[in-house]
Symmetry: C2
Subunit: 396 residues, 2 copies
């Protein structure tokens, strides 16, 4: 038996696992200190009341013979129509029209980002922004694919544009994780044009779209003309509605997306019907509720809460004269490590001196070296306390 | 961009999707008829009260800041320790001792069976029983692997034994889907010996182990000495506790399982931490509850209910002098199509004449041709009514 030796080309540790291990070791060594985590992008606000009510009702359904639910409906790869209608409604409010069989409900964007690669040949070249969410790179290393990088840096406002790279699969993440930078609709049009000219496919990670307030910025790549011919969009309820522990996401594969005479929508449907059995009925009902009118109002409150946290962090960094981006149309603040320190050195120092856990920028790619990511997903109290500690530690 | 052309080698349709489509078309054409589904192995009994209570509590946890849960714990690939302890307890009652980091909680056995293939090289040869759950074949076709078949037929009691095939990855499913045949511990010892001699790995699908009553039959491959050196076991709460709509399973990758100097446990942990973000907190809490003492008692009642359905179906077939197996240590009854008909012809006839949906044996492999699978997962009323219809249609 032979193992997949491509796994041996992975770095030792998944970034967030390493951050978690270091944090656990520090806590064990210093049980008396109160460590504040502004590292992994995990939410802290309770779920919206509409979601809670819908989930209780769904659990009740499972308790009675008459309303019991087993596997989800075959027709849409195990997604319930009420959830698909909710998602279509949310897209319609962004000016995007989709049909139910273009939407695939899953247990989260991370699963889809990994599993989507099943439908592509091994000998495609992928283009990945640097820095970016490490899953794009790691999943392609596991599959033995050639990876090119598009540098995101201060010069281009952390928003790389097409530069003629011979890529077949192009990852875009907007608003970006970790830099918080977000593409305008006009910039995305250039990416769409480039992808179509090369017969490439864009994997567009829109996990943070709910944080976009500026109207010139895209909330979906399908707000750009022609994107349905070349782009798959990956979305999640995790950050939009605090579902990191509930597990529900969705991916759009338009029926217009055809390569080598084959519908990618059909390929993905076949992949999902063969290797997946749908999302918990309880999670699906909770998700359907948050895209109702009342639900949208309730989740907007939570997003406003996190946005205010981001503003507090940005203000603090401004006062400390530390360069930073993001935090406006994004829950992530991307700061330069003070004193030209490298990312892991600053991670260790900040933990040791201020009991704050952040995420080292270098963990997102080599262009992330010298940067550091803070998230706005903490509680207000923790965010304020962390900013106070930053002031004490980094102030004059 | 190149698609994964191995997908083009798949049969047109996933078996259960085809059964579902044919059923939907029939219902549309005959809205006045009451169709009874004894086809896909989906459960119908409501969840055990302990699971319902635990899930309501978990939803409440998500409604309050103080008890809110985001991503599951990093340490065990997002599984909660209370669930891992429950699973370890369940194994201990079968005489199998496991550590927490040998158990990986997932959204179901189907996902794991597909995703596990990521950790193996493409150029392994797989050995798959025929007939068997079609996912084993389809997932390997998608990956372009060479597939050998081990014939399961009347001669070997539908339990193929090692015959010297040069296989690297060996699928075993016991109690078997679709035939209901189950291996004895002694028979599994022969498979373990064979796998070890070849440095092969066994993927042991134990999704139906809860239906085993005969003590000579295995409920886990780890009840066989030496299995931890060569076997991965895939389990699910779907059939054990009626979780087909709740989505929770678990896979055991022993730390003793090493190939080419690499721990498969570490490879799988890396795969899961990179392409997966854990199971719904609500589902995990429900699952943890069913393996409590009271939970085990409650789920045993449901399993007894389905077992009685199987007995009713077997009795009916006996009276009709139709040859069949399974239905004793398994929820599946595997019958010979009357009059030597082929499987899909009998499917169409049974639907047309008795409004009963079953699953054509040929959908599980060529040795399934001429057979038909009925499940015991229906309601008592439907099972009795279906048997009455069978008697009318197939009786003298």
């Amino acid at each position: 038996m032979k193992i997949n030796s491509d796994f041996l080309n992975l770095k030792d540790n998944y970034l967030f696992a390493k951050v978690g291990e270091k944090t656990a070791a520090y806590r064990k060594a210093h049980p008396e200190r109160r460590v504040i985590r502004l590292s992994i992008g995990d939410v802290t606000r309770p779920l919206a009341p509409v979601a809670i009510e819908a989930m209780h009702r769904a659990v009740d359904d499972l308790s009675r013979k008459e309303t019991f639910k087993g596997y989800g409906p075959d027709r849409y790869c195990y997604a319930y129509e009420s959830l698909l209608e909710s998602i279509k409604g949310s897209y319609a409010r962004k000016g995007v029209s989709l049909s139910s069989d273009e939407i695939f409900v899953s247990d989260g964007a991370k699963s889809d980002l990994g599993n989507l690669l099943d439908i592509f040949a091994k000998d495609n070249t992928v283009l990945v922004p640097d820095p970016v969410y490490p899953v794009y790179v790691d999943t392609n290393v596991m599959a033995g694919r050639r990876i090119l990088y598009a540098a995101a840096n201060e010069e281009n406002g952390f928003l790389p544009m097409p530069d003629g790279a011979e890529a077949d699969i192009i990852y875009l993440c907007s608003p970006n994780n970790p830099t918080g930078a977000a593409y305008t609709k006009k910039q995305l049009a250039a990416w769409v044009e480039y992808a179509k000219a090369r017969d490439a496919v864009i994997l567009y990670d829109a996990a943070y779209e709910a944080f976009v307030t500026d109207d010139s910025l895209a909330r979906s790549i399908y707000q750009t003309e022609g994107a349905k011919d070349c782009a798959i969009e990956i979305c999640s309820f995790s950050k939009t509605a605090g579902f990191t522990g509930v597990r529900c996401g969705y991916t759009v594969v338009p029926k217009a997306l055809v390569r080598e005479g084959t519908s990618l929508n059909r390929l993905w449907a076949r992949r999902q019907s063969t290797k997946f059995n749908g999302v918990s009925y309880v999670s699906q009902m909770g998700a359907a509720a948050v895209f109702s009118e009342e639900g949208e109002r309730q989740i907007a409150e939570n997003i406003a809460y996190y946005r205010e946290n981001a503003r507090i962090i940005c203000d603090t960094l401004d006062k400390l004269h530390i360069a930073h981006t993001g935090g406006k149309n994004s829950p992530y603040v991307w700061m330069k490590c003070p004193g030209g320190k490298d990312s892991w050195a600053f991670f260790d120092e900040l933990l040791e001196n201020a009991d704050i856990v952040g995420t080292p920028g270098s963990g997102f790619g080599k262009n992330g070296e010298g940067y550091f990511r803070l998230t706005a997903f903490g509680t207000r109290e923790d965010t304020l306390e962390a900013c106070e500690r930053l002031r004490k530690y980094l102030g004059d």
